[in-house]
């Protein structure tokens, strides 16, 4: 490929073969055997899992290996959320593609020497965004063309796919990548780019990426680039690149909402956090983890009931922000509620009430 040097690393290092996909062993095994058996036995597939775990890469690699670059265009239709996918398109575009006949007789994939299977593949990527009505229409289409066409549906949340569609597919779950897999992959990229990087920093990078390989790769690239030629890659650069809320800011937050300062003082601390641009959902995520770990004095001192009240409030605020609610107001409200929860330590009854009312 020409000009690959100009590509962001997450694209530059996109797996080109199914076997190169890290960690998703079960999926890789199943697809590899489908590739190997040469009969072209392939069910409809449903890939699901969080962002950056290899779904799109795997689907494209599978098709590339099945058909080779030569037949890819004629045999594969990729539709994603950037394409109009209303009912009409599902009917028309998919029909047109599925109906054009594939040549009879044996065709060889020049790259592998294997026979090219006699079907076509339609990839419906980012299927979370397809309306229920269009999915229903799709069900019929899938049945009609099932002899000549295989579907690969890809989504983040399997619950967004209607049951009659999902039940027609073999389900492939893509897992968040564990530390070990990310570490190995990042080391591989780092050596490819001629970077030297401490194991400790590498570990922090993997941790910060929450199982999202794409994010890990972008963080690696950015942390090293931001350091400048010959500059030191350090944790601070990493925190910047990974958009984490630094521990010191979490400490301030914890002291303000669980401590004994006045509402106004707490409110000021919270306003500063928002003014400093920290993402409130990221803050909630990291603070929720502190509650789970239960190692800090001000948290370990809370009763189980209090802790559940805190977590419930965090979850409620997170959901409301996803609806578009204002971060500053939500954070102030979290502060108010958490203070109340801590201060009504003696009053179990009212705490129960708080929990029920959330």
């Amino acid at each position: 490929m020409v000009g690959n040097d100009m590509m962001p690393w997450s694209e530059k290092y996109r797996p080109q073969k199914v076997a190169q996909v890290a960690h998703q062993d079960e999926v890789v095994r199943m697809l590899s055997s489908a590739l190997d058996d040469g009969q072209g036995n392939l069910p409809h597939l449903l890939f699901y899992g969080p962002p950056g775990t290899g779904k799109t890469s795997t689907a494209l690699a599978l098709c590339r290996q099945m058909f080779g670059a030569q037949h890819f265009k004629a045999r594969v239709l990729e539709l994603n959320a950037s394409d109009e996918r209303g009912i009409k398109v599902v009917r028309d575009r998919i029909k047109t593609f599925a109906q054009t006949s594939v040549p009879e007789g044996r065709i060889t994939n020049k790259e592998t020497g294997r026979a090219v299977p006699a079907f076509k593949i339609i990839i419906l990527d980012e299927a979370d965004a397809i309306t229920t009505d269009a999915q229903t229409a799709l069900r019929r289409t899938m049945e009609t063309f099932s002899l000549t066409t295989r579907f690969i549906l890809i989504c983040n949340y399997i619950s967004r796919i209607i049951a009659p569609l999902a039940s027609r597919c073999a389900k492939c779950r893509f897992m968040p990548l564990p530390m070990s897999a990310m570490r190995a992959h990042l080391s591989h990229i780092a050596s490819g780019e001629g970077l030297s990087i401490s194991t400790q920093l590498l570990d922090h990078m993997c941790e910060a990426s929450e199982g999202d390989m794409r994010r890990a790769i972008t963080t690696l690239q950015s942390t090293s680039r931001m350091a400048g030629p010959g500059g030191d890659m350090d944790d601070e650069a990493l925190v910047t690149a990974a958009c984490l809320v630094p521990e010191s800011v979490l400490d301030d937050f914890e002291a303000a909402v669980l401590g004994s300062c006045s509402f106004k003082d707490m409110s000021l601390v919270l306003t500063n956090i928002v003014d400093d641009g920290y993402s409130v959902s990221q803050l909630i995520l990291q603070f929720g983890r502190r509650i789970q770990e239960n190692t800090r004095a001000s948290i370990a001192g809370l009763s189980d009931l209090q802790k559940s009240a805190v977590v419930l409030k965090l979850a409620e605020a997170e959901a409301q922000m996803i609806d578009g609610a204002d971060e500053w107001l939500q954070l102030q409200d979290i502060g108010g509620r958490l203070r109340e929860t801590v201060q009504c330590a003696t009053n179990q009854g009212s705490l129960r009430h708080t929990i029920q009312s959330v």
Binding site: A129, A241, F263, G277, D326, E327, L329, R339
Partner: protein
């Protein structure tokens, strides 16, 4: 005012208002967020920059940094901006969509959320087209073909040379940049529609997204970018900037007046400079008792809070409603109004009432975001607050 509206205004009046006149696009020279600027410079010096996502409060300097990045990538020609209002026919059946584009030879800026729920069509059709078509010039339906430093290209070579026609200066990156404002205001479907486009055309197009609130951008999009947090300037940085601008304009900001501007601007750089300019034209030299001159909408929001604290009655609600309507018709975003009113109230009410105030505000603001008529929820909040406040006051009276 947000996004393209803002960038267009900036473009029109550049050289008029101090905010814009003294904006530097040289990252190395900016006085605010120096450490971040250095990191950004290092990042974009290699041609393989990832997509970028700048997030942080309004007035923090996100767009300034974006312009700095473009300048570093493409040189001064990225600052030769032109504005186009265009009507596109998008969708099937085609709907008319009016968009404002600000562009240079290397980048296009737009705010898809300006067109409401039709933003999905903008992403699916326009953005995809811009991202996939290689030379930006091809996208300009305007008259002349851009004069290339290398000279006009022969017609026949157009297809083959598509990849390079745009960057005859060899050191310039071979991609264009698409700057999207207010991504957090874009609909879910529009955000979804951006996902694969960002990956598929990464070779020819980098996307820079801007948003106030990172939490409102879907995870798959955030996963595709390097996030760059831009905080509001610190008080010290703000004072420095005020001094710097005053120095260039040939006047003096006293310490005490500088502190007043910093306090009343809420660390917002844009607001601080606007206030400084307005205050100076009101009265200069600054007197000891001079108040900072604020924008009309800020005064209106403050007066709404004050009215509610003075008298909690149906009559007040009528006045408040009128003021809210005025603000909305002047295109002040509802969430900014909400924010300003609550912040004013929070400064003035007693400690005991504050938790209830924020709890109700958070609830009504959330409803406003889910609903479709902001005025209803703004008003409902005001009515509810007055009720709360009245009950609180009478409870205090009972104590005596």
């Amino acid at each position: 005012m947000t996004g393209v509206g803002k960038m267009e205004q900036e473009h029109k009046r550049s050289g008029l208002m101090w905010v814009d006149k003294h904006r530097s696009t040289n990252l190395a020279k900016l006085e605010v967020h120096k450490a971040l600027n250095v990191r950004l410079l290092n990042l974009v010096r290699q041609g393989d920059v990832p997509h970028l996502f700048f997030y942080g409060p309004p007035g923090a300097g996100k767009r300034t940094r974006v312009m700095g990045v473009l300048h570093e990538l493409f040189g001064a020609s990225a600052e030769k901006l032109r504005v186009q209002h265009r009507v596109f026919k998008l969708g099937d059946p085609p709907k008319e969509v009016e968009m404002t584009l600000v562009m240079s030879n290397h980048h296009v800026e737009m705010n898809p959320s300006d067109v409401g729920i039709k933003d999905r069509l903008v992403v699916q059709e326009m953005i995809k087209e811009i991202a996939s078509s290689v030379p930006l010039d091809a996208f300009q339906t305007t008259k002349k073909k851009e004069q290339n430093a290398a000279g006009p290209e022969p017609q026949g070579a157009a297809a083959a040379g598509a990849n390079t026609s745009n960057n005859s200066a060899a050191h310039k990156p071979a991609f264009k940049v698409l700057v999207l404002h207010d991504v957090d205001r874009m609909s879910r479907l529009a955000q979804q529609a951006l996902r694969r486009t960002m990956e598929k055309y990464a070779r020819t197009c980098r996307i820079i997204m801007l948003a106030t609130s990172a939490s409102k951008v879907i995870e798959p999009l955030r996963s595709r970018c390097l996030g760059v947090r831009v905080p509001l300037p610190s008080d010290t940085e703000l004072v420095q900037v005020l001094r710097h601008v005053a120095n260039k304009e040939g006047f003096i900001v006293t310490d005490s007046f500088g502190a007043k501007v910093v306090a009343s601007s809420g660390r917002n750089m844009r607001r601080a400079l606007l206030q400084l300019e307005a205050s100076k034209s009101q009265n200069y030299p600054f007197s000891a008792e001079q108040q900072v001159t604020k924008a009309d909408w800020e005064l209106a929001c403050a007066s709404i809070s004050d009215l509610m604290l003075v008298q909690q009655a149906p009559r007040t609600l009528l006045t408040v409603r009128q003021k809210l309507y005025d603000l909305l018709t002047h295109a002040i975003p509802a969430d900014i109004i909400f924010h300003a009113i609550v912040a004013n109230l929070l400064r003035q009410v007693d400690q005991e009432l504050a938790p209830q105030l924020v709890a109700h505000a958070a609830m009504y603001e959330h409803r406003m975001q889910k609903g479709s008529k902001p005025i209803l929820h703004l008003e409902a909040f005001c009515a509810r607050f007055m009720q709360l406040y009245k009950a609180y006051l009478s409870a205090i009276m009972d104590l005596f």
